[in-house]
Amino acid sequence: MEKEEFTITAYTENQVGLLHRITIIFTKRKVNIESLTTSESEKEGIHRFTIAITETEVVVEKIVKQIEKQVEVLKADFYKNKEVVQQEVALYKIPTKSLTNGIEVERIVRQHNARFLTIEKDFLVIEKAGFRRETKALFDDLKPFGINEFVRSGRVAVAREEHGIGEAVEKLLAQN
């Protein structure tokens, strides 16, 4: 079975140590986590993990069951790329003097649908949200001007279905 990109979503309680409990499930199987983000979900007091990995479906399925088995996890599920709407946010810090050499940087930023977050005396920060390939393309175009710092967030994703597993979480919460 071929490895491919998967997005794992888990709805959890907000509990100290749960992040560790979830990541060791990957460590035990020597599976690399490509990105992991947590945030509050649409449900009050319930957090949401979004984890990106490249693995076979068989392995992903077993990992997701182990995640859902944890006492403080309400529900977990996994999606292929075509089953989610996903984004990452990237920040690019470049020298302000690059603006003085003509309109090239402004043109690139417009072309990539990015935006200037701040322009200081010595440096400016550009923000771009999109797929990995899009943030990478902007990186490549800005590289000739000198990138002082670059950072990209983990993946955030929602399922391409009306409710996703949120509905199952809702059902579980209603039972209690």
């Binding site: 309680e13 409990r21 088995k69 006492v71 309400l74 579980l172 039972q175 209690n176």
Partner: protein, 576 residues
């Protein structure tokens, strides 16, 4: 009725000012814990001080090493079905629990471990005896948490007991800082009945049971594999009815052993690497494989690519993560075994599979001639482990609890011991922890003092927790210790003989005089080297009113057969 309920609720909400440590002990009493195991130290001293006031209600068993304490708690839990409670101090006390916690996790044993921690103001400062026990124990606990404020203790322990006992049981650990143990607060306690994020028993899907019943009713060559899930669900009666109604040959994993009496005609024996010939061979000939409360461990399945490929697999299991983990289930049936088997019983038709059962009997005959006769009734040469077990059966009549350690003697004890009651075979199955047997037997005996408890131990494992002889002496527990001494790490030596050209690297043991050592702990002893003295010695061993140590010198280079070699399929089982 209504007014009673109200009164009860009122009682539960009455608060009382006490320290965190006193609250911990009070909660143990509320949870009906009568025996706890442990070892004191700096960071858990307030709890020990509180235990001092409750000695009439809670017997604290002082082990001689925290590993001994936790294995004793495991033995207690396995024999009684109540959670084992274990105390340890911070740092080395807590880290010494880890092997037992890992063992309990893989063997689904309910444990509540309470560790002391350095004061909260010192957390993260590398204080004396500080260790991150939450981080260390996380991969091997069902749940754990750290408490730095006494007001959180009742809820944390209520959760801990509920999680340890419910669903698929397991070990939990609560780490409590010393300042929280001293802190006074308003105590009240309400046991947990549910946790919103936790589903201990999955909802039963009746259609899956209906599908399973159709397959079982149509099967020509069905085989049941049963594991500890039957025992943990208290489903022994329902299970026996199922076996008898359907007439299906049934084989056990070593943790399932004793769920169905060993002399039951449809009990066809042990699965796996050193299991019986029939159930292994015929796993690859059955048409429907019905697994109940077992997890297809690799020691059971051998090479998965050659495992039961011809069979429809029905998997009765409480833990959804076990479905399709190792063996793909054609029909998964999620739920507590007691409930699912009860539903199934109504749908299956009475049957007998005489021709198919005949195959198991033929295999048993072959195994009897090639392996068992030689093992149980050797006329000449050195003593065998099997003949010792055989004589023990004669005197226990299957009523004793047999606790084994890990290695050759464990396989022999499981293969040949007779059991007439459930919860009678206690062994470290998943983790294979040498040193488990002696303290686990002590814990079992303290849990069920009316039953005979026999620890069967090898000379390797004996020396891993030998210090717990002192705990046996101190508690006066009447536990029987049988040492099968072959002066080798026998199982490793067997593998070296078979797969490493007889290169006996670090497996020969130059042992001390165990008789002198055990006498030093004031436990009566006997040593047998000759066959003619064996039976009388065993009779005395079993009948002696008190702890007793019997050492039997057995053949140094005997092997355990049958054997499914590592990497081979179950049907490639070797008889010699």
């Amino acid at each position: 009725m209504g007014s009673q309920t109200v009164t009860k609720q009122k009682e539960q909400t009455v608060t009382q000012v006490m320290s965190g440590a006193e609250a911990i002990v009070k909660i143990l009493i509320e949870e009906q814990i009568q025996v706890a195991f442990g070892y004191p130290g700096g960071a858990i001293m307030p709890v020990y001080d509180a235990l001092y006031d409750e000695q009439d209600r809670i017997q604290h068993v002082l082990a001689r090493h925290e590993q001994g304490a936790i294995h004793a708690a495991q033995g207690y839990a396995r024999a009684t079905s109540k959670p084992g409670v274990c105390f340890a101090t911070s740092g080395p006390g807590a880290t010494n629990l880890i092997t037992g916690i890992a063992d309990a996790q893989i063997d689904s044993t309910p444990l509540v471990c309470i560790t002391g921690q350095v004061p909260s103001s010192l957390l993260g400062s590398d204080a004396f005896q500080e260790t991150d026990v939450i981080g260390i124990s996380m991969p091997v606990t069902k749940w754990n948490c750290q408490i730095t404020d006494a007001t959180e203790i009742p809820e944390a322990l209520a959760k801990a007991f509920y999680i340890a006992k419910s669903g698929r049981p397991g070990p939990v650990l609560v780490d409590i800082t010393k300042d929280a143990q001293f802190q006074k607060f308003d105590y009240s306690y309400t046991p947990y009945k549910k946790i919103r994020s936790y589903v201990p028993k999955p909802e039963i899907d009746l259609s899956s049971i209906e599908k399973a019943a159709v397959e079982i009713n149509n099967a020509k060559r069905p085989l049941i594999l049963f594991g500890q899930g039957v025992i943990l669900a208290n489903a022994e009666k329902e299970f026996k009815k199922l076996v008898e109604k359907t007439g299906i040959p049934s084989a056990w994993t070593i943790l399932g052993l004793s769920a169905l009496e060993t002399d039951h005609p449809l009990n066809v024996g042990m699965l796996g690497m050193h299991g019986n010939y029939g159930p292994n061979l015929l796993t690859n000939e059955c048409d429907v494989l019905i697994a109940i409360g077992m997890r297809f461990d690799d020691r059971v399945t051998g090479n998965l690519t050659k495992y039961a490929k011809q069979a429809k697999v029905i998997h009765f299991e409480i833990d959804p993560a076990e479905i399709n983990k190792n063996v793909k289930a054609d029909i998964p049936v999620l739920g507590d075994a007691k409930e699912t088997i009860s539903h199934l019983l109504k749908l299956v038709k009475p049957n007998s599979h005489e021709n198919w059962f005949q195959r198991f009997q033929e295999c048993a005959k072959i195994e009897q001639e090639k392996v068992i006769n030689r093992e149980l009734h050797p006329d000449t040469g050195s003593l065998s482990m099997g003949e010792v077990i055989n004589i023990i059966n004669k005197y226990t009549k299957g009523d004793a609890i047999i606790v084994s350690d890990v290695g050759q003697h464990q396989m022999v004890a499981c293969r040949y011991s007779k059991f007439s009651k459930s919860k009678s075979n206690i062994t470290s199955g998943g983790l294979g922890t040498m040193g488990f047997g002696l303290p686990a037997a002590l814990g079992a005996k303290l849990g069920v003092p009316d039953r005979t408890v026999i620890a069967i131990i090898g000379d390797g494992g004996f020396q891993m927790t030998i210090q717990e002889l002192a705990t046996i002496y101190q508690t006066k527990a009447k536990v029987k210790l049988l040492l099968l001494n072959n002066e080798f790490l026998g199982m490793v030596r067997q593998w070296q003989q078979l797969f490493f050209d007889k290169r006996y690297s670090s497996t020969e043991l130059i042992n001390p005089d165990f008789q002198t050592i055990v006498k030093g702990y004031y436990i009566p002893t006997k040593k047998v080297t000759e066959r003619e003295h064996l039976e009388k010695a065993i009779e005395e061993f079993i009948n002696y009113d008190g702890a007793y140590f019997l050492e039997v010198m057995v053949g140094k280079e005997n092997n355990v057969f049958p054997m499914v070699p590592s990497g081979a399929g179950v049907s490639e089982i070797r008889l010699e």
